[in-house]
């Protein structure tokens, strides 16, 4: 693999500038010296612009005809005989395009947030998390091995949950953030398992070997059951991150944060991270037909479910969340069918378009009045065509399912959360009882402030 110097440098600049932003802003927070709004905004603007320009240039410099994908290595953090943790970026048209798109969208959102969050007490914290998120997205886009992918994945997940809980004083937003975080943990666990298994089987965590070309997985003997298991684990990770069925319940709950964060995560980038990993892992999935079929089925089911649910949502953010999910489901189907280029174009177009829609969600009253005025008639009061096909009884039924969002949350609550908490409570009780039995009773320590009345 030959590496052209400018490309290496450009990619490094592209990834490093949001990472540096994250370190600077986060460091300022750590030492309790948050930067002023003006400084934060300037730094964020400069960093996002730099990243975007560098990645666009890299895309221009990159020459696909030479070798296909290139693995850029930036040294290792630790190296052992059996491998190690290396910083490697995989560069091809797909990864550069997705990285450039992420940087562009992040730039727009950061410009938006600068004014939208003006005078907000959490302004600085928001930008720390945004920088963390952008770094994570670029890591995911350019990941050259599973470690880099995992770091990016975690950055995205953590910042996502923390932004859902942005308004910490509101109980609803904190509990919804917990919900999001727990689903993300399932997805993270699946990804880690896939990475470990991959390392175990193929002796390497390199996505280059895994994703690099049609023959790569076969070349390291990654076929059959093993390929299927790894692909299934990856699929679980994707299902959690992209809110596919049956884990879709968290998506509308994630609308608790400020509008721009909802937009960039659940309208635009984070929701597509799963799709992107599927695109990357397409060669692996080609070796694992059952996983591929399952992905297609889940995608289709999600698209149908979300398409039905979005029709009845009466608040603008839930409506947009399920509309996004509909498209995400379709993109997954396209990937499962092997239409990779279409899927990517669809993904990129959707990310841009939905971002605009989410960012202007508060404008919906203004927009609909404008449309009504231009059309000269009310927009409301329509009934969809499809609903008319069902009988009245079935229609009521479908409506109930749609308005209750497929009862997904209550089903998960009943069959997963409740047994789990019951187990946890049982263990806590057991623990307490055991301790009580073994340990002597301790007296209650009370401080009342008068013991030392006179020295």
């Amino acid at each position: 693999v030959t590496i052209s110097l400018p490309l290496t440098t450009l990619v490094l600049i592209g990834v490093a500038s949001p990472a540096v932003l994250f370190v600077v802003l986060g460091g300022a927070s750590l030492v309790n010296r948050p930067l002023s709004e003006r400084w934060t905004a300037s730094l964020a603007g400069a960093s996002m612009t730099t990243a975007f320009l560098a990645l666009v240039l890299a895309l221009a410099v990159y020459n696909p005809s030479s070798t296909g994908a290139q693995l850029l290595s930036y040294g290792a953090w630790s190296a052992t005989d059996e491998g190690g943790v290396a910083i490697e970026f995989l560069v091809d048209r797909l990864s550069l395009a997705f990285a450039a798109l992420s940087a562009a969208i992040a730039g727009v959102v950061s410009a938006f947030s600068n004014r939208y969050l003006h005078r907000e007490p959490g302004y600085h914290r928001y930008f720390v998390l945004l920088a963390m998120f952008v770094t994570g997205m670029l890591f995911i886009a350019l990941a050259g091995n599973v470690t880099v992918l995992l770091v990016g994945w975690e950055f995205v997940g953590l910042s996502s949950a923390l932004l859902v809980a942005f308004f910490q004083e509101r109980p609803a937003s904190v509990s919804n953030a917990f919900r999001v975080a727990s689903v993300y943990r399932i997805s993270d666990a699946a990804l880690v398992s896939a990475a470990v298994l991959l390392d175990h089987v193929a002796g390497t965590g390199s996505t280059a070997l895994l994703f690099g070309g049609a023959g790569a997985p076969a070349a390291v003997g990654l076929t059959g059951t093993t390929a299927t298991i790894i692909a299934l684990l990856l699929l679980v990770a994707v299902v959690g991150k992209s809110a596919l069925l049956p884990l879709s319940g968290w998506l509308p709950r994630a609308m608790e944060g400020p509008t721009p964060s909802s937009a960039v995560y659940y309208g635009s980038l984070s929701i597509h991270a799963g799709c992107f990993v599927l695109l990357r892992a397409a060669p692996l999935f080609e070796q694992a037909p059952p996983a591929r079929v399952l992905a297609g089925v889940l995608g289709a089911a999600t698209a149908i479910f979300a398409g039905m649910t979005t029709r009845v949502q009466s608040d603008v953010k839930s409506s947009l969340a399920y509309a996004s999910l509909t498209q995400v489901g379709i993109i997954v189907v396209e990937i499962a069918l092997g239409w990779y280029t279409i899927a990517f174009v669809h993904l990129a177009g959707h990310a841009c378009f939905r971002l605009l829609q989410f960012l202007s969600a508060p404008n919906v009253l203004h927009d609909l009045h404008g449309i009504e005025d231009a059309l000269g008639d009310r927009v409301s009061g329509h009934r969809g065509y499809l609903e008319g096909l069902a009988s009245e009884r079935v229609r009521r039924w479908l409506f109930l399912i749609a308005v209750e969002r497929g009862f997904l949350d209550s089903i998960i609550d009943r069959f997963v959360v409740e047994p789990f908490t019951r187990l946890a409570r049982f263990l806590t009780d057991l623990d307490a009882r055991l301790c009580d039995a073994v340990l002597p009773k301790a007296g209650v320590v009370r401080v009342d402030g008068i013991e030392d009345q006179d020295d």
Binding site: F112, T310, A348, L356, S360, P362, S380
Partner: protein, 996 residues
């Protein structure tokens, strides 16, 4: 069956439950749909009590804040926004003769109150107090922030080297003396704790089970879906049956039990209601019986039930009362329907809670079975009782020897005093002092201000009539500074033209008048040359844009159409995105250019009475008689007095901004949350009508033929002023019109400049041109949550001749209403002005007050997570109660103070007018706004108190600034006190002179 069900939900007025619900409903927020925002007194239901009592009572009942927090007032004390002499004056007035009584044999009540209110003490109990005692120097040093004489009394130890040890010893002695004193006193008096009301409150207090958290999410989804005005593509089926009937249809399926663990018994309860054929009221009665709520407990129980989700319940009530204000008028929306559904869900949830608690008896016995387990309020410990006494002793400079002599009676006396002067009372006093400072500044400014010489007989160069809105104060001031030869007026911005107006490009007519009026007249804007080629092209273009917008809006939410759209054109969204977010000013320019290709070029208002039936209201257009009455009334109100300039501008206002669900809250209050341009235009057209002028002339009210009226609308957000029908201006007046336009152009630039001083993001060095570009960008900026500050900082209302206030810098804080007392001997004009003005200005002022003092309780919190729902209101984030009131971004620069209204009229005339109107009388008597008289002859100011008018003694001097307004405000942030601005020689511009 359907009709029977809907009819049953209509309910009977005699049912005891109907009466209970009707009595409770005013407790709910009275905010209607968001797209027609009407400012109203948030605590309208409490207006029959005095203001202070009302806000404190409401705070307890609704769980809200009555005033700002004590620390905020203390900050204002430190910053000089509140003066200590104001605090002292308020306390003296508050205590009256009680102030002289000596307490605990040591200090007068007045001194004690003053010391506590001015200096305060850190209230602390339990672990917090322990921490303070252990970890802070509270027990080793005396407080340093105490009155001087107290300090002198405490610091009896000398300036020696071991002073610190001495001081420590003295403090400890005082502390133990306080503890000893407490031990001599009897048990503390405890106010009884309020018992929980609803089953859920009991469960929550005793077992930490919150059934509301179970049922609210599905209930909100159901309600939002039911009330939806067109956001969802597929609207809820069976909506014609009413809320309760629809719920029974949809949630009767056994599938509904899947809504959550709580919903296990819901299908059974629903089926039971259906089988018994219960109406909503019957269902409520049945549920209450099942819950064991006796009839005498209904008001309390249902009140708590309604307040649990008050925003949604409130919008239900609003739609029930004014179904004409929402698009989906075919819906049956009733509060009783909502309550019936709510109670059904609640019973299901309580069944589940009972199951979890293994409680097998009927729900009716649940509360009594929990009764014994209610945690009791802790009795204060000796330390907790000694802590306030310790501070009282320090604040009053009481020596330890005196504390040693306190008997139990003394301690109890002091504790009773502190209970009366609790946190809320301290805040009340501080708030009153705060208002006093602000109010007296205005009184003194008006008292000191030398009215500009009354204009001589010659009419001014031109005249301009604005809305009374306080945002026009600065505009008028700048216009007068630019064109000293002009004269301005203020009146309610619907210019007495109450109408439904439908513009050429409007899909629906919209009422443009104060909310208390239901207009009879319908006025359409028409295109006289609409059928020519360009007219047709524009219409086609408009339709095409609408069609495209509609299909993108819907298509993006559909699977297949969406996929095609996103794949093929999705990336195109980057263009508007970058333009609107990164270059908003540019996009404002572009959309203005684009608009010229879709809107009609030349239109007229169809004002004449037509025989055709109007789409809404009783009549199409006005008769000449009606027009003449309208014109005469406004011109009399403003006291124009027969002096007409060749051009008279009539300027309405509105506000256009992006990404702002509360856009309509920035529009004209007198137009019921609409834009007042059409009213101004209609008024001007009426006043120019020769038939109207002939009619008026016959009645002896002459408008000279040389005068011409021009309607206009000012956009208070981007500061553009658009003129209507300016092609009709007589050619003779054209040069004058050019001059007017130039003056307005300068004024709007300067006004934008003054307005920008309140925006943190605008550097102070910005020149007026840049400031104007900035506000234009703000209006078109997708990312801007505060396009303008609206009515924030409003505090005053001045009713009188402009000469009284012209030249005063009032910092955009004063509603200005023109009124000439010399032409109104019987007070009839004042009475009708007050009737129109008071509800509007008091509503605005009080809504800002409450949204500021409790931004998340009375207001709707920060805008950032707002989620527009059902096209009716906003929720926080994914799902929440419907949030009413104003967002923090609108009110953040406000000062919560009741309106101080100064009327230039004799005291007895004001009293007569007030007593003539029950609603105004109630507001004035209970001091929901302050009322003062400015005597037209002597210029003497007196304020209306409970005892009648009391002459005002000046306290603040009025400074004079030479130059223009900018000379005073340039480079300054925050609130600026009123000053007199006099134009002077260029040499000493900006110089501030003080005059007493």
């Amino acid at each position: 069956m359907d009709h029977r069900a809907a009819a049953a939900e209509a309910g009977s007025p005699d049912h005891p439950l109907t009466r209970v619900i009707d009595r409770l409903a005013p407790l709910l927020p009275a905010q209607g749909p968001l797209s027609i925002f009407i400012h109203h007194n948030t605590l309208h239901a409490f207006e029959d009590r005095p203001f202070e009592e009302a806000v404190e009572h409401a705070a307890r009942q609704l769980g809200r804040e009555p005033f700002l927090s004590e620390s905020r007032y203390r900050d204002k004390l430190a910053a000089g926004r509140i003066r200590s002499r104001d605090v002292e004056a308020v306390i003296v007035e508050h205590l009256g003769v009680r102030g002289d009584a000596a307490l605990a044999g040591m200090v007068s009540r007045l001194d004690l109150w003053q010391a506590i209110v001015l200096y305060g003490f850190p209230a602390a109990t339990g672990p917090e107090l322990s921490w303070i005692l252990q970890e802070t120097p509270a027990l080793s040093r005396f407080r340093t922030d105490v009155p001087a004489q107290a300090r002198a009394a405490l610091y009896s130890f000398g300036e020696r080297a071991d002073r610190a040890i001495d001081e420590r010893r003295a403090v400890r002695r005082l502390w133990s003396a306080c503890l000893d004193a407490v031990s001599r006193a009897g048990e503390p008096l405890l106010p009884p704790a309020a018992a929980p009301v609803r089953h859920r409150d009991w469960l929550h207090a005793v077992r930490d089970i919150d059934t509301d958290a179970w049922i609210h999410p599905p209930l909100i989804r159901f309600l939002a879906g039911y009330l939806d005005q067109g956001l969802a593509h597929w609207s809820m089926p069976e909506r014609h049956r009413g809320i309760h009937g629809c719920f029974l249809e949809i949630y009767g399926a056994s599938l509904a039990a899947q809504c959550g663990a709580w919903a296990r018994t819901l299908p059974r309860l629903v089926a039971d209601d259906r089988a018994a054929g219960r109406s909503a009221l019957d269902s409520i009665a049945n549920s209450l019986a099942a819950l064991g709520v006796a009839e005498d407990e209904w008001p309390e129980y249902l009140g708590a039930e309604l307040l649990a989700l008050r925003g949604w319940a409130g919008i239900v009530r609003q739609i029930e009362e004014r179904p004409d204000r929402v698009p989906a008028r075919e819906l049956t929306v009733t509060l009783r329907g909502y309550l019936a559904v709510r109670l059904l869900c609640e019973r299901a949830a309580l069944d589940e809670a009972a199951r979890q608690l293994r409680f097998a008896r009927p729900l009716a016995e649940l509360r009594s079975s929990l009764g014994s387990a209610l945690p009791r309020r802790p009795v204060p410990t000796a330390i907790e009782r000694a802590w306030p006494l310790f501070h009282v002793a320090q604040l009053c400079g009481v020596d330890v020897s005196i504390v040693d002599q306190w008997t139990g009676r003394h301690v109890e006396e002091l504790e009773a005093e502190l209970q009366e002067l609790d946190g809320v009372r301290r805040r009340r006093i501080l708030h009153q002092a705060f208002e006093r400072t602000i109010r007296y500044r205005l009184y003194d400014a008006l008292g000191h201000h030398v009215p500009q010489a009354p204009p001589d007989a010659a009419p001014p160069a031109f005249q301009a009539v604005f809305c009374l809105d306080e945002r026009e104060e600065s505009f008028r001031r700048h216009l007068e500074e630019v064109e000293p030869a002009c004269e301005t007026f203020g009146t309610a911005g619907f210019f007495n033209v109450a109408m439904y107006h439908q513009g050429v490009t409007d899909a629906h007519p919209r009422p443009l008048c104060p909310v208390v009026i239901r207009p009879d007249h319908y006025v359409a804007e028409i295109e006289p040359e609409g059928d020519d080629f360009s007219g047709r092209t524009r219409r086609l273009h408009r339709r095409a844009v609408g069609f495209l917008g509609y299909n993108v809006h819907r298509g993006s939410r559909l699977p297949v159409r969406g996929a095609v759209l996103m794949t093929a054109f999705g990336w195109l969204a980057l263009v508007p995105l970058v333009l609107r977010v990164v270059f908003p000013w540019l996009s404002a320019r572009w959309s203005r250019v684009h608009k010229t290709t879709t809107t009609a070029t030349r239109t007229r208002l169809q004002l004449d009475r037509q025989d055709t039936a109007p789409p809404i209201g009783a009549y199409s257009g006005f008769t000449v008689r009606e027009m003449a009455d309208i014109v005469r009334r406004v011109l009399e109100d403003i006291g124009i007095g027969g002096r007409f300039s060749p051009l008279v501008l009539i300027v309405g206002h509105g506000s256009i901004s992006l990404n702002n669900p509360h856009e309509s809250a920035h529009d004209c209050g007198a137009c019921g949350g609409g834009r007042g341009g059409p009213n101004a235009r209609a008024f001007a057209q009426m006043a120019n009508d020769p038939r109207v002028r002939r009619q008026l002339e016959a009645e002896g009210f002459v408008i000279p033929a040389s005068s011409w009226f021009v309607g206009a609308q000012r956009n208070t957000c981007d500061n553009t002023v658009a003129f209507f029908d300016d092609d009709l201006i007589p050619s003779g007046s054209q040069p004058l019109f050019d001059r007017v336009q130039a003056a307005i152009e300068t004024a709007r630039r300067r006004e934008a400049h003054e307005r920008c001083r309140r925006f943190d993001s605008v550097p102070t060095w910005y020149p007026p041109v840049a400031a104007l570009a900035h506000v234009e960008g703000r209006a078109a900026d997708l990312a801007q949550p505060r396009p303008e500050y609206g009515h924030a900082t409003n505090a005053f209302c001045i009713v009188g001749r402009r000469t009284r206030s012209r030249g005063l810098f009032l910092d955009r804080r004063a509603f200005l209403v023109s009124y000439d007392p010399s032409d109104d001997d019987d007070g009839a004009i004042l009475a009708r002005i007050m009737a129109a003005v008071v509800p509007v200005v008091a509503g605005i002022n009080l809504e800002y007050y409450f949204s500021y003092v409790d931004p998340t309780g009375y207001g709707c919190g920060t805008k950032l997570p707002h989620n527009v729902t059902s096209l009716l209101g906003v929720m926080d984030g994914a799902q929440s109660d419907l949030r009413t009131g104003l967002p923090w971004q609108m009110v953040e620069v406000h000062e919560p103070t009741r309106l101080a209204m100064v009327i230039e009229a004799a005291e007895d005339r004001i009293l007569r007018v007030v007593q003539g109107s029950p609603t105004i009388e109630r507001l004035v008597r209970n001091r929901w706004f302050w009322l003062a008289s400015l005597d037209p002859g002597s210029g003497r100011l007196s304020e209306l108190r409970s005892t009648g008018f009391v002459a005002h003694t000046p306290e603040h001097p009025l400074a004079t600034v030479v130059g223009d307004s900018a000379a005073w405000y340039q480079g300054k942030g925050g609130f600026l006190p009123p000053v007199a601005i006099v134009s002077g020689p260029g040499g000493d511009v900006g110089q501030v002179r003080s005059s007493a």
